[in-house]
């Protein structure tokens, strides 16, 4: 929107979006093709086109394991990045994200309750809807605590610490619970809590997309009020924005997005923090109309890349996803903190 080089800006945006989409597609192909059994791009297209027998092992690997996983990482990353972007706008602060604010930990606690409690008390399996409900409840709980605290304390550092502490309490409760859990369910929970896009079933992928896409679309519809909110509540209000309504919508959308990813893939850190920032810097704008779609695509790309790294870097051993996102994300947080002297 900068007036003089306007055309150049528009071309830049198109160019950057093309790069993001291209990257997303590339990482999807890599995730589907590369692994313990490598499958060529030509084969992938043939399989997708239905020209390969359904009993072929490559078909099974791709359809049962790799495509759901690649799709899940794309949607999960998008959800986390958009949730991070919304929270950063909500708190007018660049270093918040679901994981930092303890929202993921809240989700973990309730997912733990559902997973450990459910199986311990005799349920044979846990329905995905139930998992999601637990994760959502946990996310909202921590979110509400942080928001109530935000009314009292103005310092963002204090607020972050409150979020982190809420997260620790949730983690403590979770670990107490694991002490009583049965071995079988415990292993499942431990795997989950390290974060991974592995083991997604098609029905889980369906649910993930059914929740993530409408939520990101809703967030995109809020782009104009979000832009006004960049000037602060009072200015936004004076320009005719219903700030309360927008804030409620922000809480709801970011909690749902965080919860749905946490329910199925476990707590995944730093994607929600790093991606919005990389997008801001790359696009050189604070305009939500650009940044929400950019963060969604970029989040999918980054999650896909991290998942690819986790699977292949130490192959055949698969690393926990959380380790990869942290290694990439943590230095970025430090960099941002040091660059921003006015926190």
């Amino acid at each position: 929107m900068k007036n003089v080089p306007k055309m150049r800006t528009a071309i830049n945006y198109v160019f950057l979006f093309c790069i993001l989409l291209g990257g997303l597609f590339l990482i999807f192909l890599l995730n589907v093709g590369v692994g313990s059994a490598n499958i060529s791009v030509r084969d992938i297209f043939q399989i997708l086109a239905g020209k390969v027998s359904v009993t072929d092992s490559r078909y099974l690997i791709i359809y049962r394991i790799r495509i759901p996983r690649a799709l899940a990482s794309a949607a999960g990353g998008a959800a986390l990045a958009v949730a991070g972007f919304l929270l950063q706008t909500f708190f007018a602060n660049p270093i918040v994200e679901p994981y930092v604010l303890g929202i993921s930990s809240g989700s973990s606690l309730f997912v733990g309750l559902v997973l450990l409690g459910g199986i311990t008390f005799g349920a044979r399996s846990v329905s995905p809807m139930f998992l999601f409900a637990g994760a959502f409840f946990g996310a909202m709980l921590v979110m509400v605590i942080v928001i109530i605290a935000a009314r009292k304390v103005k310092s963002i550092i204090t607020l972050l610490i409150i979020g982190m502490m809420a997260g620790y309490v949730c983690s403590a409760a979770t670990s107490i619970m694991t002490a009583f859990a049965e071995r079988e369910s415990l292993q499942m929970f431990t795997m989950w809590s390290m974060g991974s896009f592995a083991g997604f079933t098609w029905s889980q992928v369906g649910l993930l997309y059914a929740i993530v896409f409408p939520m990101i679309f809703l967030a995109f519809l809020l782009a104009k009020p979000l832009n006004a909110l960049n000037l602060g509540d009072r200015y936004a209000e004076s320009m005719g924005i219903n700030v309360r309504l927008v804030r409620y919508a922000l809480i709801l959308i970011s909690s749902v997005l965080t919860a749905v990813v946490t329910a199925f893939a476990g707590p995944v850190s730093f994607i929600g923090l790093a991606v919005p920032h990389i997008c801001r810097i790359a696009f050189n704008t604070a305009d939500s109309r650009i940044l929400i779609p950019a963060a969604a695509i970029g989040g999918g790309l980054m999650a896909g890349f991290c998942d690819f790294t986790a699977r292949n870097i130490m192959s055949p051993v698969e690393l926990p996803l959380g380790a990869i996102t942290a290694v990439i994300g943590a230095p970025l947080v430090v960099y941002l903190l040091m660059k921003r002297g006015d926190l």
Partner: protein, 403 residues
């Protein structure tokens, strides 16, 4: 409610937070093109009044009307087209150009996604040009100076095409250039476009010179209200700011002078404004001052009395009398030094020249800012006078005497 065409009016308004009343009976009726200023010390409740007027805060009692509508009941989008605000809070904006900030002012008019039409763009350009910030449009907002930021924020408010603009302390933290610029912009808008301006200030001099109506706010009350000429007087201002000692407000000049009531050690011969810089300089060095002989219509007298100096004076447009000469002689006699400010000598103050010659005759130590040639004409060739060519030199000489 109001048939007189008030843009903003109040009805039995008490303002405060929740049920705690801060200020009772706020009575503001703002006409088109009026500039109304709330003046008062920090913490007097000016911001509380402004926040209530803009509908951000609900009144404890009573009502605020924008034209004929209750400001709290208006749809916020409708209100945004009538009323724009400029607040004191600092913006935390990243990666946003000055143009984009100003463009935010179109928010109440743009469609669902906030896309700017050609008309919007014309209005934004016009508003940025009005405040003289069009050249800043591509700069990152964060890189602007405080004064430039303020101009951009005013452009943003104007882009809302309001009939009323409310500003909270728009000139604080600004340097003098930007202070004046901001006030001039607002004044011009009020006169040329009929924009009504309501603002809080704590610069008395700016308020008095720029606003049509002033409300003095202190300790939860509006202590006076009306045209600045009527209500901004020495006593009201000194009371308003609780200035009891050390400084004095002068209503003719609209400025605050620092008092100097120390025992006079230096006699300053002044007139026609030559004395003012010397008074200030000598006061800063810590000397007490006596001055004279000044006509009461002399600008030097106005400042000397605001500073509470010992001043020998004569009534306006009257020749100097014997009695006043004697007074001046006595004053001069008690002082250690005499300073000749180089005041013009004419028909009415010839006596001052005579007084200067007497000082020479009595062997007083005299510092003179006058040209030595002119000095010789008044006091003769061999007079014992120390001529200084600048205020800096005078300051140095006096400090030398002190040591």
């Amino acid at each position: 409610m109001n048939d007189l065409g008030y843009i903003l009016s109040t009805d039995h308004l008490d303002v405060g937070y929740e049920s705690r009343t801060v200020i009772r009976n706020v009575d503001i009726q703002a006409l088109k093109g009026q500039t109304i200023c709330l003046l008062g010390p920090n913490g007097a409740g000016k911001s509380t009044i402004l926040r209530t007027l803009t509908g951000m805060l609900s009144p404890v009692n009573g009502c605020v009307y924008i034209e004929k509508n209750d400001v709290r009941r208006m749809k916020s989008a409708d209100r945004a087209k009538k009323l724009a605000v400029v607040l004191t809070e600092k913006l935390n904006l990243n990666m946003t150009s000055a143009y984009e900030v100003a463009a935010m002012g179109r928010t109440p008019y743009t469609g669902f996604f906030g896309r700017l039409t050609d008309e919007d763009k014309e209005i934004i350009e016009e508003c940025l040009r009005t405040v003289g910030a069009w050249e800043l449009r591509d700069r990152d907002y964060r890189s602007l100076s405080d004064g430039e930021k303020q101009k951009v924020m005013i452009a943003r408010a104007l882009a809302q095409r309001p009939e009323l603009i409310v500003l909270d302390e728009p000139t604080s933290h600004l340097d003098i250039k930007h202070k004046i610029e901001v006030v001039r912009i607002l004044n011009k808008l009020a006169i040329e476009t009929g924009l009504t301006v309501i603002l809080a200030l704590h610069d008395i001099d700016i308020a008095v010179k720029f606003c049509q109506i002033v409300l003095l706010v202190k300790d939860g009350k509006i202590v006076a209200q009306g045209r600045p000429e009527d209500i901004v007087r020495r006593d009201t201002v000194d009371e308003l700011y609780g200035i009891e000692e050390g400084a004095f407000y002068d209503s003719i000049l609209g400025s605050v002078e620092i008092c100097n009531e120390a025992n006079p050690e230096i006699f300053v011969m002044a007139g026609a404004g030559c004395g003012i810089p010397v008074y200030r300089l000598v006061s800063r060095l810590g000397f007490g001052i006596a001055t004279g002989i000044l006509a009461q219509n002399d600008i030097d007298y106005v400042v000397a009395s605001a500073m509470k100096l010992t001043a020998v004076s004569t009534r306006s447009f009257q020749p100097i009398r014997e009695e006043e000469i004697r007074q001046a002689q006595q004053c001069m006699e008690r002082c250690r030094f005499v300073i000749d400010t180089g005041f013009p000598v004419g028909q009415e103050n010839r006596e001052n020249a005579k007084l200067l010659r007497q000082a020479v005759g009595r062997g007083k130590r005299i510092f003179s800012l006058r040209d030595p040639k002119d000095s010789a004409e008044i006091c003769g060739q061999n007079a014992n006078i120390v001529h200084v060519s600048s205020m800096a030199e005078l300051s140095g000489r006096l400090q030398g005497e002190l040591a």
